[in-house]
Symmetry: C2
Subunit: 150 residues, 2 copies
DNA sequence: CCGTATCCATTCCGATACTG
DNA sequence: CAGTATCGGAATGGATACGG
């Protein structure tokens, strides 16, 4: 994610990737969704260098995905928590996770699972639906743009 | 996306990102979903250098997201089309798109829209649900893993 | 404990030129 | 048209070392 998309890209996918399209960003959001708030805990769980963790956190804060809040334990440091914008990445995260579960694991190796707290069972698969509730696949789509490009 | 996740990562999100976590990859998949098949058309629409287009296409083919098929027009070249694995990225793509639509555009600038062909209307928002159909948010989740890490 | 600052190796991306 | 080859600049990522 070097170049960033043309600021003028009219494609929402491209603009989203500007913010969360690099390797670590989504993993940070993932952990934040699980309640991770502290710098050191991100560092420990993700196993990444501090400087780039700093950099990514800063970008995510600037992008409005995370916000800094005073530490809950009274210490002098910050905690990072998801804004609503960040929480709204949940469908993206779940979609990515379900795809990975389906295709990126053999029968041998097991993976972590996201459960809902009440049932202690995996989530339902995400389904793409039309406005009136029909299931739609890639063949049922068309792109509409004021201009031309995707 | 330099390092690739530890091959042993048990997190499906991380493994998914190994394949589609870099800037261009998802944009290629996006265009493929709209029916783009030819090298030059990817190049033209994405405005990227040929060498890296070549490289990304190769990776996506190796990953089983795209497959090479003989050109439909009888020319000597290849066409790239989505495999089922690739088509199953639709929820991810839609999630990313809807998030971008919501947060990455002011009222001034307009964006492309994905419609379903029948209704010619935007898709329904993706909703994350539990196995028994309740809406769930980030607060309702728990991570279960054989080991410990996400 | 929470970062920031440096340094270095690697990789990525874009431009260009070249081939069949 | 569909790539491959090469080159250089920029940015990333990791390892420290350092400071509040």
């Amino acid at each position: 994610m070097k170049h960033k998309s043309n600021k003028s890209s009219i494609c929402p996918v491209a603009r989203s990737l500007d913010v969360i399209g690099e390797w670590w960003s989504l993993l940070i959001v993932r952990d934040a969704m699980l309640g991770v708030k502290r710098f050191s805990e991100f560092e420990r769980r993700l196993g990444m260098a501090k400087n780039i963790l700093t950099s990514r956190l800063k970008l995510l804060v600037e992008a409005g995905v995370l916000q800094l809040v005073p530490a809950s334990d009274g210490s002098a440091y910050n905690e990072y928590e998801l804004t609503q914008k960040g929480k709204d990445l949940l469908p993206t995260m779940v979609a990515l996770r379900q795809w990975g579960e389906k295709y990126m694991f053999g029968n041998g190796d097991d993976h972590s699972e996201l459960h809902d707290k009440k049932q202690h069972k995996p989530l339902a698969p995400l389904i793409v639906r039309s406005a009136d509730g029909r299931k739609v696949g890639v063949e049922d789509l068309e792109l509409v743009s004021s201009n031309a490009t995707s």
